[in-house]
């Protein structure tokens, strides 16, 4: 498909054109914050209007794009109790036509993982709240050129310039221009809207080199190949490392809520008088009550068991059940963990246990 060149300072024009073409445009933006030594920069994906400043291409956003496909809370339907009768009202599935700009390769790769869970590929049950949103959403991804210390996409089969799941992929070249690759039909539509800003065929060689250069900056390099077979050996489920590495885990859900592929949710009724909504909202396998039976029995009773489940989910369950990657290597769980529980340390340990000696090279202290 088509490749082209776009000037980086034309990104504002891109936003204008897409808005004019009736797209809801989502882009990463810096959040206003209070001054002082305790606050740090925060960037999130938000709807953007013409003229708003964005920070496309400036590091990985604090949170990903998951909320635009799988919101942190959403009503499933409304109910009203009328005496002995109940009236249900369906929610609208008419979602706005959306384009998400400046998505990092790891985030956009996570979409197919989520799709594997929520669409009818999973046991035939189609969660239309997800799939109808996905149908209406176009992803314009943006290669990483400056991966940070927590990034490890290269360990999970991705790269700073991956275009997996993308509709239109951009790569910033050293000369400051953007290399644009149209990947899908939806991407073509975007390209058509911004056609006036595109020129030439793009510099494929420079784009390739930019990707390689970025990948070289990733220091957390783990070989994830031995992980799946090791996890599949049921004997390793009781391995001592789970408890040893996991005991400092405090059981918050920061890693799961920041994770682009974590999909667990809970359902509750939120009531006001006789009316209310049944609401689906993010839940976390790290919470102690997540698997607590009404009887008081808890299938994952200790915190290390919950983290073991998370690790298994990322590297085994996702592949076994949904046939997709469970981890895209964005590193948010590492950045966000209050106690520096590092998933790549688990990966290294597993690789070590699976007797792949060179897996340890990135972490010489861990003997």
């Amino acid at each position: 498909m088509r490749t082209a060149t776009l000037q980086k300072n034309d990104l504002d024009r891109v936003i204008d054109l897409l808005s004019q073409a009736d797209y809801r445009v989502i882009a990463p933006q810096n959040q206003p914050r209070l001054d002082g030594p305790d606050s740090i920069d925060v960037a999130v994906f938000k709807e953007i209007q013409s003229g708003d400043s964005h920070n496309i291409g400036e590091g990985l956003s604090t949170t990903g794009i998951k909320p635009f496909l799988f919101p942190k809370d959403e009503p499933l339907f409304a109910y009203e109790n009328r005496g002995k009768k109940v009236v249900l009202t369906e929610v609208s599935l008419d979602f706005p036509k959306t384009v998400i700009l400046g998505v990092r390769p790891c985030d956009v790769a996570s979409v197919s993982s989520l799709d594997a869970v929520f669409s009818d590929k999973n046991a035939g049950f189609n969660d239309e709240l997800f799939t109808k949103r996905l149908e209406k959403t176009t992803f314009v991804s943006y290669s990483c050129t400056e991966p940070d210390v927590s990034c490890f996409c290269t360990s999970v089969g991705l790269a700073p310039d991956s275009d997996k799941g993308s509709d239109l992929h951009m790569t910033e070249l050293p000369d400051g221009t953007l290399h644009v690759e149209v990947k899908t039909k939806a991407g073509e539509k975007i390209a058509a809207v911004i056609d006036a800003l595109l020129s030439g065929d793009g510099d494929a060689v420079a784009r390739q080199q930019a990707g390689v250069a970025a990948a070289e900056k990733i220091t957390r390099l783990r070989d994830s190949a031995p992980i799946l077979p090791w996890l599949q050996d049921l004997g390793n489920f009781g391995d001592e490392m789970w408890q040893r590495l996991g005991e400092k885990c405090l059981g918050c859900g920061a890693c799961t809520f920041e994770c682009p592929t974590c999909h667990c949710f809970d359902i509750v009724d939120e009531n006001s008088g006789n009316k209310g909504y049944r609401v689906k909202f993010w839940d976390s396998c790290q919470f102690d009550h997540f698997t607590l039976h009404a009887s008081g029995h808890n299938t994952r009773n200790s915190q290390f068991e919950r983290y073991r489940n998370r690790f298994n989910c990322k590297f085994k369950i996702y592949e076994d059940v949904f046939g997709e990657k469970g981890c895209v290597g964005c590193g948010r769980c590492i950045r966000g963990c209050p106690v520096n529980l590092d998933i790549t340390e688990y990966m290294a340990e597993v690789a070590h246990k699976a007797a792949i000696p060179n897996a340890m090279s990135a972490d010489p202290d861990f003997e």
Partner: protein, 683 residues
């Protein structure tokens, strides 16, 4: 599934005027769980109650809402009716659509909508009402009376005459209190001691009354029906049971100090009874002033004592006794003269408003003595006028014993003036000042009495007539305030204003009598804490309800009598004492004590033993409890509520972060259901 009945009351037109009750009933009938509704003119009438009972029986209702007036009015009515019909009374709730709705709205549409909401909320709430049982507990049918003044004496006699054993604890060596100090009483001018001492003798001789004079309550544990009092019997240095009260000891005692009973106007012996008619007639040694104790000299009293009952080695005795009820009758004191313009000194420690910080409080001088000796207060005047007083009833001024020819009486000293004293009216001063002028005029034929007053408040039977009589007998009433008292030779120059005449007034008086404010005892607040009862900002003890429960304290089983609760004259004090006694009799008339079940309960599973509830409980009703496993090992500690002590105030509920303690009848589930049933709750 709930089978709920909803009964909407029109309250004649009281509710129906602004609420479409039929519409409220219809709306209720459409709610899940409601199987019966009724819209009726007067639910509380006998036919209304019958219909209520019939509906419960006919429809086997398991919850009822009466949408009517405030639960304060008829909750008990309908709960009793439900009980009679076989439904647990705590499954009945009142939705207040009168005081909180029809009476405060004019618009019928709004009133009706709000009534529907209130009723719906109660319907949801009652689904979570659990049947509750009242607690039954045994009780000790003995009463403890704190204070042996006229209030304590009256309450003790009433109770003992009704067959209840009583113990009176009096901190002074004798019963009598302030009333024993008075000369005559208004408005009849009968001799105070003449009417008081027969009652004291009756107390002394009553087989059911135990007098603990020269004793103080140290601690009160327990709860209504089951109090445990720790009483300190101060060492009298005299063996009670052997003493005959012959008087040899105090007659022979060579040492004297100022007599507190006589307002320091005269001296008493160091071994003494406060006044001749004292009950008990057992003297005590004032150890702080006795040379035997100070430097081991003297000991004459022991030498002269016939029954050999002086015991210098006697020690304070701690007595623990159980009681079912307590009557607090600790009385009052007069505010000392703290006004420089009246020749007094600065404010004494305990009267300084609590708003002052520690530093400010510490800076206040402690002395209460005045600079002008012939400026005295009302009680001092009473002693001067009393036949048993220091002057044998002749009015002589303290400085030189002369009969004062001109006496100025000043009313409202410290009262009715929040900026300088207390904001309340001390109520008795108008009357006793009038009495004083009469006593003075009777004693000093050519004497002239002036009264400076703000208003005359004489709202009692025969009171106004009494004031008129005082004026007829020669007292000159000047409406106005006194601005200063100055020493002028051996006289006191009184500078004031006559606001009726609109002129300044100066009177050269021989003596000035100040009607200083009536205030609680100096240690009233500390004592309230010992008892665990509440008090107002002045230190007067608070009644449970100012109109409907005027003798109940805030704590169950503790009742109030006399001036400790607020300013009172003798007849009011006696009436309240009898009322308190009858409350105790009412309590003791039952076989067992019934406690309402609306007390806190602990969720032992979730309690995390932080003891915040223990710390916050004003009634000391919560204590740590051990939870043991099958083998008797303590596995954890949890909070435990003593239902006898718990008053259901709910403070523990608010401090419990883990939501492990809640009030029966007001559980989180009930309250939450009620709130969420309000459609506007989360808009």
């Amino acid at each position: 599934m709930a089978k709920i009945g909803v009964f909407v009351c029109q309250c004649g037109n009281n509710i129906a005027r602004t609420v479409d009750t039929a519409d409220v009933a219809k709306d209720a009938s459409e709610q899940s769980g409601v199987v019966f509704v009724e819209d009726y003119k007067f639910m509380c009438s006998a036919p209304g109650q019958e219909a209520f009972k019939k509906a419960i029986r006919d429809h086997d209702l398991d919850g009822c809402i009466v949408s009517a007036c405030s639960p304060k009015m008829h909750e008990a009515t309908f709960r009793n009716a439900a009980e009679a019909a076989g439904l647990n009374p705590f499954k009945v709730e009142i939705a207040n659509i009168r005081e909180q709705c029809s009476w405060v709205h004019n618009d019928k549409e709004i009133g009706t909508a709000k009534s529907k909401d209130l009723t719906r909320m109660m319907i949801q709430r009652v689904k979570y009402n659990r049947p509750l049982e009242r607690y039954r507990m045994t009780m000790t049918k003995r009463a403890l009376i704190l204070g042996g003044g006229i209030a304590g004496i009256q309450a003790a006699l009433d109770l003992a005459n009704a067959g209840t054993p009583v113990t009176i604890v009096e901190k002074e060596p004798s019963l009598g209190g302030n009333m024993a100090r008075l000369s005559e009483t208004f408005p009849t001018l009968d001799c105070s001691q003449c009417i008081l001492t027969p009652k004291m003798v009756e107390v002394q001789n009553h087989p059911l009354i135990t007098i603990r004079a020269f004793a103080e309550l140290e601690k009160l544990d327990g709860y209504i029906g089951n109090f445990k009092a720790t009483i300190r019997q101060k060492a009298k240095s005299v063996i009670d049971k052997d003493c005959t009260g012959c008087g040899d000891c105090w007659e022979k005692c060579p040492f004297t100090v100022e007599s507190e009973f006589d307002m320091n106007l005269i001296k008493r012996k160091v071994i003494y009874i406060p006044f001749p008619q004292a009950v008990p007639t057992v003297p005590v040694i004032d150890r702080a002033n006795c040379p035997k104790f100070l430097k081991d000299k003297c000991g004459i009293c022991a030498d002269v004592c016939g029954p050999d009952c002086i015991d210098f080695t006697q020690e304070d005795e701690i007595i623990e006794e159980e009681f079912g009820a307590v009557i607090v009758a600790t009385g009052f004191e007069l505010m000392p003269n703290v006004y420089k313009e009246y020749g007094g000194s600065s404010m004494p420690q305990h009267l300084i408003p609590k708003k002052m910080n520690k530093k400010q409080r510490a800076a206040q001088p402690r002395s209460t003595s005045g600079r002008l000796p012939d400026v005295i207060n009302g009680l001092e005047f009473e002693r001067l006028a009393s036949a048993s007083g220091p002057t044998g009833g002749e009015i002589r001024r303290p400085s030189d014993g002369k009969k004062p020819k001109t006496v100025v009486f000043i009313a409202c000293v410290g009262s009715r003036d929040a900026s300088k004293g207390v904001e309340y009216c001390s109520k008795i001063c108008c009357m006793y000042t009038a009495k004083h002028t009469m006593l003075y005029n009777h004693s000093v034929d050519d004497g002239k009495a002036y009264v400076f007053y703000m208003d005359i408040r004489a709202g009692g039977k025969g009171y106004e007539e009494f004031i008129n009589r005082a004026q007829d007998e020669g007292a000159e009433y000047i409406r106005g305030r006194v601005s200063a008292l100055r020493k002028k030779g051996d006289k006191i120059l009184v500078k004031g204003a006559d606001t009726l005449q609109g002129c300044a007034v100066e009177i050269e008086a021989d003596m000035v009598v100040l009607a200083t404010a009536m205030v609680p005892q100096a240690d009233a607040i500390d004592f309230a804490k010992t008892l665990g009862i509440s008090y107002d900002k002045h230190g007067f003890y608070s009644e449970q309800h100012p109109k409907l429960m005027p003798v109940d304290s805030s704590t169950g089983g503790i009742y109030l009598a006399g001036a400790c609760q607020g300013v009172k004259d003798v007849p009011e004090t006696v009436a309240q004492a009898s009322a308190a006694a009858s409350k105790v009799m009412q309590l003791f008339s039952k076989e067992e004590l019934m406690r309402e079940p609306e007390v806190a309960i602990v969720d032992k599973e979730h309690c995390m033993n932080c003891w915040d509830c223990v710390t916050v409980c004003p009634y000391l009703a919560i204590s740590p409890e051990e939870v043991k496993d099958r083998n008797g090992n303590v596995v954890k500690m949890v909070a435990n509520v003593n239902p006898g002590l718990c008053q259901g105030c709910g403070l523990c509920n608010t401090v419990c972060r883990s939501k492990s303690i809640e009030l029966q009848g007001y559980t989180d589930q009930q309250v939450y259901a009620q709130i969420t049933a309000f459609e506007g709750a989360f808009v």
